[in-house]
């Protein structure tokens, strides 16, 4: 899609709502989905004379995210006011950290298209969310439940050069928020939003092109589409011999296009230190203690899975993005004697399928039993199909793998004599398929093996069955 003459340069400002109990500056409940205007008070409605109280938990969550992104943590930071008028902003200023944020420079390593890519973080800070506007035909209503919900804003360096990098970054930010258990990170509820900075330049150019900011992107796919749209628009402008104008645009997700918002000169927030707060002063020991609470993060796990366990990149990403699944997998690997790759296949495949049905959770099975089951498959004692039966039993009963194999008679039949009758029955029942095979459609062999596996309730060794059927038909 991208004209090879040009290179895209992308920076992201990602906002995530923090899942603290209460709001960032008042005691109101921080809860999505409450009845409108039930979680509000004089403070979050910006009433005259009300004053903010900083929520320590929001500060803690921000520091943890800062650690996760390898940021410098500033032991002294301050709150600033960004002044502008809009009906969703009760005080007509947003409290944020512009001049001295809680977290400074950092980075995140991503695994994209076969290599590790480092994305710089310029800063990470806390701020308050705005109220939510509800547009009706002849009126706009305001729901203050969202006003003063705590947000972190993560400002990346302009380090992205492809959509794949942007996608990997957003997926990982979302996964890290889940790992740290500090955000619900549900894009459809607006708990993660993005502003996107886009510019393009000719490959090899020493300077970036003119930068456009796109606001109001509230889905991951929207972010990617907005970038695609802007890059195409910039190329078209440049190819016409014109220049891109610096401006702020708004993403319209329905129409799939960006529209100009306001001129740059109007974009002065008259920032100054909010006098209603004292500076945030942190103890180094506290900041260090928080660092010890950071688990191995999904982006780090992906790199390990790909390079050490030879798991394909896309599977490694899916596996690592759920902490519970990834932890379970790693426990299995630690027990040992089963290849990580087949363990990953089971965790991502049948185990995930059963859990996604909603009746069971990972706590219903133990890593030990899964490892034992996989060992039995790898040693040829049971077939893959029989493994699925074992898995079902592991979820529903307290039996050991040995017991299940014995009770259900799942031990693999490697003895051809025991399989002869099954093969004969299946071939007798499928004369049409045999004709197909003989006329050259040799891929029907798999179907016949499957039928035999089914008839043997998974106990047949598929490789042996394959050889037996082939032997009969080819003669």
């Amino acid at each position: 899609m991208l004209n090879p003459k040009y290179e895209m340069v992308i920076g992201l400002e990602t906002h995530a709502e923090l899942s603290t109990e209460s709001k960032i500056f008042c005691a109101c409940k921080n809860e999505f989905g409450s009845e409108v205007n039930t979680n509000c008070c004089p403070v979050c409605m910006g009433m005259p004379g009300s004053l903010p109280q900083l929520n320590k938990m929001a500060v803690e969550y921000a520091i943890m995210m800062g650690h996760a992104l390898n940021c410098e943590i500033n032991l002294v930071s301050k709150m600033d006011r960004k002044n502008y008028f809009y009906p969703d902003l009760p005080k007509s200023y947003q409290v944020s950290q512009v001049e001295q944020p809680i977290c400074g420079k950092g980075h995140i390593d991503l695994y994209v298209n076969g290599e590790t890519k480092r994305i710089g973080i310029n800063q990470l800070h806390i701020e308050e969310d705005t109220a939510k506007l509800i547009h009706e035909d002849d009126a706009t209503l305001i729901d203050f439940n969202r006003a003063m919900v705590p947000l972190i804003e993560i400002v990346s360096a302009p380090d992205f050069r492809s959509l794949a990098e942007v996608e990997a970054y957003l997926d990982n930010i979302k996964a890290i928020l889940e790992y740290l258990d500090i955000s619900d990170a549900k894009m459809q509820e607006g708990s993660i939003r993005c502003d996107v900075n886009v510019s393009i330049n000719e490959v090899g150019a020493t300077e970036f092109g003119t930068r456009i900011e796109v606001k109001n992107v509230s889905t991951f796919s929207g972010a990617l589409r907005a970038i695609e749209y802007e890059v195409a628009r910039h190329i078209e402008i440049l190819e016409r011999g014109e220049e891109v104008q610096s401006e702020t645009r708004r993403w319209d997700d329905m129409k799939g296009e960006t529209i100009p918002m306001r001129g740059k000169e109007a974009n002065d927030y008259l920032v100054f230190t909010d006098p209603d707060f004292l500076p945030i002063v942190l103890e180094k020991s506290y900041v260090d203690e928080l660092k010890t609470r950071i688990p191995t993060l999904p982006n780090e796990r992906v790199i390990k899975y790909v390079t050490e366990y030879s798991i394909p990149e896309s599977e490694a990403a899916v596996l690592s993005h759920s902490k519970s699944r990834s932890d379970f997998f790693e426990e299995c690997v630690t027990i040992g004697n089963a290849t990580p790759k087949s363990l990953a296949n089971w965790v991502l495949g049948d185990i995930s399928k059963i859990i996604n049905d909603g009746k069971f959770t990972l706590s219903d099975i133990s890593p030990q039993s899964i490892v034992e089951m996989v060992r039995n498959i790898e040693s040829g004692k049971i077939s893959n199909t029989a493994g699925k039966t074992v898995l079902d039993e592991l979820f529903t009963t307290d039996k050991s793998v040995e017991q299940i194999i014995a009770d259900k008679g799942l031990a693999q039949l490697n003895d051809t004599s025991a399989l002869e009758q099954i093969v004969a029955d299946v071939l007798a029942a499928n004369p049409k398929t045999i004709e197909d095979y003989k006329s050259g459609k040799t891929n029907v062999l798999g179907f016949l093996v499957g039928q035999c596996m089914k008839a043997s309730r998974g106990t047949g060794n598929p490789q042996i069955l394959n050889d037996m059927i082939k032997g009969i038909l080819d003669n």
Partner: protein
Amino acid sequence: MKTISIKDDICIKGELTTCGSKMLANFKPPYNATVVDKLAAACFNVIGGNTMDENSSIDADFALCSDHAGLARRFAMANSLIALKPTYGSVSRYGLITPAPSLDQISPIGKTVRDVAELYSVICGMDERDSTTVERDYPNFCENLDKGIEGIIVGTAFCRPQQNILGGKMPPLQKTIPIELPSIEYASTVFQIIAYAETFSNLARYDGIKFGYRSENAATLAELYENTRAEGFGYDTKKQIITGAIALSRDNRHLYYDRAIRGRAKLCAELDNAFAQSDVIITPLDDSWTVIPNLTGCPAIAVGGIQIIAPKFSEELLFRAARTIEIAGGDSNA
């Protein structure tokens, strides 16, 4: 029961709290200011909604008033009362409708130093609802009132140190030394720039959308903002808001706001330096010296036509000095 008058910028639940402005003509706060709760707990009879300026008076023994730009101290002077501008952070501002949060404190006013000390003892203290309040031991300030100021070094900041302060009624102080703040001539300008910048921001919430006055003549959102604010604010307030916005604007802040912040820091350092030589400083209540306590956060008391300033959290000493002057002035009804 003691009766106290509260200025109309301190919130009382369910009572009109208008700040004397058309903008808040219909505003009844759904909550009490912290000081109002404290007064009620100390069994004061609270009368709200009073106007207090140089041209008004009150009919009560006690009063509370925001000391924006020295208003409480001027009001006290005009009415032969005594007013304390407390140390910044010693009295909760929760529920004070203030234009300039970094400068303003709620001031206790009374007929005697003892009244003021008693009132201050009631309203001071850490309040978790105001993050700028300071946690520390706040004593009962009435206890040591009559201890005198023997051994205290008094700085005097009058242009001519020999000037006969208090019309010859200057009390027998142990030692006085002349004090100067080299940057005092900029104090008033520094104060105005910071006050107006904060006013611009703090008054931005009056937009006709949620509470207070709303213009009837608005077809669009922009008109609602413009007309509400054009109709609701008085001339002086508009002038301050616009000046504040200019002082903070991208192109001008290095000329105005940033310099004012540096000027404020310089004045704080100069006052600290003065307190290295003296324990309290007696000053006139002119435009420059009136704003020094607001800019530096130090406490000050207006008594007998002058102002006494002390280092932060030295209210006890301040009351003793004020009481000494009160007695020397012949007022012994306390």
